[in-house]
Amino acid sequence: MNDIFLYTGIVLGFLMLLPTYRALFGPTVLDRLVGVNAIGSKTIAMLILIGLIYKRVDMFVDIALAYAMLNFIAVLVASRYFQKQKGLYDEGQT
């Protein structure tokens, strides 16, 4: 059972590299925000997985809940800030 969790963690870590491309090279600011949100939602599953591998899931589940709240607040605040800037230009064309 421990090996299954380990392989799941490896595949999940590889899948977290794919939205990193969108977060680094996204054409607009909001594309980067989508990439960061996708990485954050995978990190919640990753934290529970670390707790199951180390057999301390009762501690890591609170960390995962706090991280879920932090991810939500960060995305909400960033999107409220960027909608004030009118005419969000396409970075690739300028």
């Binding site: 059972m1 299954i4 799941t8 595949v11 999940l12 899948l15 977290m16 794919l18 939205p19 491309y21 969108r22 054409p27 607009t28 909001l30 594309d31 925000l33 989508v34 990439g35 949100n37 996708a38 939602s41 995978k42 919640i44 599953a45 529970i48 997985l49 199951l52 899931v57 009762d58 589940v61 609170d62 995962a64 809940l65 879920a68 709240m69 939500f72 995305v75 909400l76 999107s79 409220r80 960027f82 909608q83 800037q85 009118k86 005419g87 969000l88």
Partner: protein, 104 residues
């Protein structure tokens, strides 16, 4: 029970992979939000259900409380993830991003 948990983990990873590839491959900002909103939430629900099923196995009070906390994380993400994606869409519409059209 091990077989059920493994099947649920593989199903969740398939949803996660679909969401990640969709975020890279879709041509437009608004269409990129579709895999970001749906598939990540679905993958998280299935994966966390597998973790809760594994945690509850030697049945005791502390295991029951930990499993209930994992289910509460799922409920929280199920409410907040579409809210976050909708606020990003709102920011894009108000900033005046044009949707993608055929032939561009």
């Amino acid at each position: 029970m091990t077989v059920i948990i493994t099947i649920m983990l593989i199903g969740g990873l398939i949803f996660f992979a679909g969401g990640s590839i969709g975020i890279i491959r879709f041509p437009d900002f608004y269409s990129r939000l579709h895999p970001a909103g749906k598939l990540d939430t679905a993958g998280l629900v299935i994966t966390m259900s597998a973790f809760a099923l594994y945690t509850i196995q030697p049945l005791s009070l502390s295991a029951l409380i930990t499993s209930a906390k994992i289910i509460l994380i799922v409920v929280f993400v199920f409410i907040t993830s579409p809210t976050a994606i909708h606020s990003i869409v709102d920011a894009g519409v108000r900033a005046g991003l044009k949707p993608w059209e055929k032939g561009e």
